[in-house]
Each structure stands twice: as structure tokens, then as C-alpha cells.
Symmetry: C2
Subunit: 343 residues, 2 copies
């Protein structure tokens, strides 16, 4: 697959982006990368690096969207930004997927306006993999839509289901709905209505799932609105970081604990590898015509490389067509008609 990489997006661009791209063509035999950004800057980054020029080229973009930039201004004024040019390559069929670690809101808006929603999808959503005790779950929506309707959440469930079953080869992923209790009657207005739709969706819906059960392998696909999803994702990141800082502070207080830590280091390292954001790479924006992976602004080369891996994988299975097909087969049209009839 041919991946267009927004080489200028992210806190440490373009260096980590270029390094990640080079690592990925080294590691994944079937990937071709187009670095999109300031040609002079990128060529300088590539100087003295050895790589297969058949599999890595540069496309010029004269502008860069900065991390703190206002959405409206960036979209209107920066017509030659690296993210826009990169998405354009997907639109024109010159690339199969786009990866960006830049301003996530602007990357999302650019992908959405240029590639448009996939047939049957009302609201595209971010899907993020998160580690559990023995595996992982897919959180959808992880932050694209802060205010949702039940039908949106139902579509997220179908989108997540299509992704999960195809990528992990599990025919009937367990779909859970985040709620304030596991009993069927629990929830807010949004989730109670969504619960009813999921119950008759034909998906392997296991019911409500509480925050405390997210990490203990209850569900494969966890559905929520983007406000909740963003809060769950960031709370988890913040808490994990804090737990390790607190432990570290305790360890430095005692000589024996320090020795103990040295002996435990490989165990800590394995644990970190299992839970490391860099291993997951990035979150696809599901439900658009094309494959678009958005990574953390503070991505490392490894995170970029793994985002490229995900992009390669999802473009390979034609994720957007897969999702549209799944939604078309779901009887969603009937649910929608009923919804409109009621209103």
C-alpha cells in the first residue's frame, strides 16, 4: 500500500516522522511512503540516510498547520498545508491511506471535508485500541463527536464491529456500551435509547459495561460518545503515568527498593511494552471514504511506524468499503426511517 505521511505534523516533526517512515519501509516489505511537506527541509532530513528510493518519495507542501492553530483559519487559509496535500493524495488515488500526527481536529476536519463520509455513515468516529489484562479493546468514539444521538452510537458499534472482526479475525466481537452500571436499566438518556437499538441490532451486544470492567476483557468493542471516549482515553493515560511517577517516588526513598527496581526492570519493560501508546500507533478515523490514521502530537518514530502499519493494514482490507457494506447489511435504513417517522 502507498501511505501519504504528513511529515510536518506533530510536536517533533519532521524528524520523528522521517525516522518513523524509514523504519517502516525497513520493517514492512509491502509499504511505500510519500513524505508530504517542505521539500528542502525533508530532503535535508533524508541526506546521508540509506533507503530504497523506489519506496520513499517526497511531495512538496509549502505550509504547515501549527499545533495550537485555530481550526477555521487553518482550514480557510492554508490550502497548501502538508495535511491537506497528504489527504489530497488519497483523494486523487495517488495514495491508499494518510497518516498525520499533527493537530488532530484539523486533520480530522480536512479528511472529512475532502474525502467525505462513507455511504451510510452519519458521523465518522475515532477508534482507539486500548490494552486489557490479556488483550485489547477498541474504544469508539474516542473523541470525534462530543454530542451524539442514539443512531450515531449504533453506527459506531457497526463500524467498530467491522474493524475488529476483520483485523483480529474474530467473527462476533463482544460489543459493550459504556454506562454508569452494568444493569440494563442503567444509563443516561442517550445510552438508554442506544441500549434498545443495540439490543435488536444483530451485533453480539453484551449490554452495559462500567468503567471498572473496561480493562478486564469483558468487551472487544466499547461504544460511547466522543466526550466520554476522550475522557476515558485521557484519564487512563493520565492515571497510568501518575501511578508510575508515584511508584518511582516511593522507590527512590529506599536503597532496597532501588535494588529491587533494578531486578524488576525487565518486568517493568515488558509491562510498558504491553501498554505503550507507541505500540498502537494511532487511531483511525472510521466512516470516511479512505483510510486516515491520526497519531498523538508527541509521537515517537516507533509510534509513526506503527501508525503506518495500521494504515497499511486498514487500507489493505479497504476499511471504508467494509464499513459501508456492514452498515448497508445492518438494516440501519429501517431504523433510520423509524427514527424519522417518530420525530
Amino acid at each position: 500500500m502507498r501511505i501519504a505521511l504528513d511529515a510536518m505534523g506533530g510536536d517533533n516533526a519532521p524528524k520523528v516522522n522521517v525516522d518513523g517512515a524509514l523504519e517502516s519501509i525497513e520493517e514492512f516489505g509491502d509499504v511505500k511512503i510519500t513524505l508530504v511537506g517542505d521539500e528542502a527541509v525533508l530532503n535535508k532530513q533524508l541526506q546521508r540516510k540509506s533507503y530504497d528510493a523506489q519506496r520513499l518519495d517526497v511531495v512538496h507542501a509549502s505550509q504547515v498547520v501549527e499545533m495550537g492553530e485555530a481550526m477555521a483559519m487553518a482550514l480557510r487559509k492554508k490550502k497548501d498545508s502538508s495535511i491537506r496535500v497528504a489527504v489530497g493524495l488519497v483523494k486523487s488515488g495517488k495514495a491508499d491511506a494518510v497518516v498525520s500526527a499533527g493537530h488532530s481536529g484539523i486533520a480530522m476536519a480536512t479528511a472529512l471535508t475532502m474525502l467525505r463520509k462513507a455511504p451510510g455513515v452519519d458521523r465518522p468516529a475515532f477508534a482507539t485500541l486500548m490494552p486489557t489484562l490479556t488483550g485489547r479493546f477498541l474504544l469508539i468514539d474516542a473523541g470525534a463527536n462530543v454530542d451524539c444521538k442514539p443512531l450515531n452510537l449504533l453506527q459506531f458499534a457497526f463500524m467498530g464491529n467491522a474493524y475488529y472482526k476483520t483485523v483480529f479475525g474474530i467473527p462476533y466481537p463482544r460489543v459493550g456500551l459504556i454506562s454508569n452500571g452494568e444493569e440494563d436499566c442503567k444509563g443516561n438518556e442517550l445510552t438508554k435509547e442506544t441500549f434498545k437499538l443495540l439490543k435488536t441490532s444483530g451485533l453480539n451486544f453484551i449490554g452495559n459495561i462500567e468503567g471498572k470492567d473496561l480493562f478486564s476483557d469483558h468487551a472487544d468493542v466499547v461504544v460511547c460518545d466522543g466526550f466520554i471516549g476522550n475522557t476515558v482515553l485521557k484519564t487512563s493515560e493520565g492515571l497510568a503515568e501518575t501511578i508510575f511517577k508515584m511508584l518511582k517516588a516511593e522507590i527512590t526513598k529506599s536503597f532496597f527498593a532501588k535494588i529491587g527496581y533494578l531486578l524488576m526492570k525487565p518486568a517493568f519493560r515488558n509491562f510498558k511494552k504491553n501498554t505503550d501508546y507507541d505500540e498502537y500507533g494511532g487511531a483511525p478515523l472510521l466512516g470516511i471514504n479512505g483510510t486516515c490514521i491520526i497519531s498523538h502530537g508527541r509521537s515517537s518514530p516507533k509510534a509513526i511506524k506503527n501508525a503506518i502499519k495500521v494504515a497499511n493494514q486498514l487500507a489493505g482490507i479497504d476499511i471504508s468499503k467494509l464499513i459501508s457494506d456492514n452498515i448497508a447489511q445492518s438494516g440501519m435504513g429501517i431504523i433510520k426511517e423509524n427514527e424519522f417517522a417518530e420525530n
Copy 2:
């Protein structure tokens, strides 16, 4: 202060409740406890225990609300339940506060219907302390109200502020609003409106706070609706548990790691103490006429003891009057009038 303890509520009642009560009269010189529940059962629990009978008595209640019980049935049919009789002692002035580790929804509903909302409060809320890197923050609402209006969240902020400043002696606690980004413009419909109200509230409002910053001492009082609060609380509990299980699994794989763990054990223990739920004891239901602390169903004797400590402390400062006074002084009446004028 005189604390009425629902001795029958909780997964391990009445044993842990009685043990916690005994520990608390041992430790806190100014506490008197009334155990509420089946007299015969409780007297049997107290047999062969030595304690000051002036400071611990039993009031009979013939019924118990079970953990899985349906709310409506329990409220209607169990007029002599231990939680109801315990709340009744507060209502009649025979106790200053009530503590329950029973069914939290039913405990809340019972306290709310019998003691009623404090003047100026539209929706009482759960307030939970959570540990941070160097201190703690108060999460409000931690689960009482799943669907909220901006005015409810504003009141939660005042309630949390009154609690925090009085209990921790900090004159202007930093109040943050959970959102999907720290920029002022971020949020969903509910939080964007709430943001405007908080901005002009006179509170020390520091703006939006993301999940990742909750645990790094950005805010003292963290405001959100009860659906979000419950999700944050339970996700944190679940993740912390999972991290330790994952670490443990890694440790058992290697002999050196096991030795390392033994050397690090005191550090782990200190860390656990700082983050242990049992140390915090329970969550007060703020905004009712009286002091009511709801604890985890799986509370240990230490958790019960610490819930009694919190009850004692909050009854001592007359938390419900404090909250009503703070809301009266806040100009909330004017905000409310404007709100009704708009609708």
C-alpha cells in the same frame, strides 16, 4: 458527633460494619455510634468484644435492602429497612450523620426523600476524593445525576468548593470542568454552557481540565455530570487494579523480578496506602439536609472506619448549612431567574 451506621448494608455486612464501628470509637475520641439493623444479629456480633457501651448502641430494624434489589420495590415495601431507620435517626435529630455501605442508589434515594434537598440546591451530588501525585482532588458529581443541566453543574461547583475549602482549609480551591480539551472552546453542549456560568461565578475557576491532567494537581475541585463522574471514578479503579495485576503477572515470570518485588514491597505498600480506596472511606451526598456518607459495597472495616471519620468531620462543620449559605451568597438566584427568563 453521633453517627448512625447502617450495619446491614454492604457485601460483608454486618461483620465489617461492626468491626469498623469498633475501630472508630477506639480511634476517634469524639464519636458515638448507633448500629442500625437486626438487634439479635448485631448483639451476637458484639458478643465478647470489649468497648465503651456509652459510645456504641444498637437500634433495631427488621428489614435489609439487598444489593441487587429493585429500587422502587425496596423504597415502597421495606419501611423498616436498616438504611431507612438509620436515615430516620438523622431526621429526628437522634443522630448527626448517617453512613451506609449498602445499595448506593437506594441509600441515596432514601436520604433524599427523607431529609430533602438543602435550601438552594436543585440536585444533590456525590463528592469523592481521588488521589493525585502530591495530594487529592474532589470529583463532583461522582454518580448521583446522569443527565444534568448547566445550572446543576454550577451548583456542584459551589457545593464542592464549600466542602473543599472547609475540610482542607484552602480559601480558594481551584475549580476545573472536565472537558475533551483544555482550550476554552472545547466541550459538549452541556459543558460549554457550564463554562460560561463558571467563568462569572466568582469561584476560582481554572477552566477546562482534560482526563490526563486530573491526577497531576491541576484542580482541587473537578466538576462534571454524574455519568462522566461515575465513568472517571470506575475507569480509574479498574485501570489501577489492572496495572497491578499486569505487573504481578510480569513479576511471576522471573526469579529476579520476584526478589526485586520483595525488596520493593514497602514502596508498593506506601503507594497502595496513598491510593487506597479504604483510606478515603466514602462519598458524601452533598446538598441534602443532613450528613450522609455512602461507602463501597465491598468496604473493609478500615473503609467503614474512615467513612465514619468523614461523617464526623462533615457533621462537625454542618456541611449542609455551609452549602446552602454558600449558594445563597453566590447570586445563584439571579442566574436561575435569567435561565428561566431565557426558556
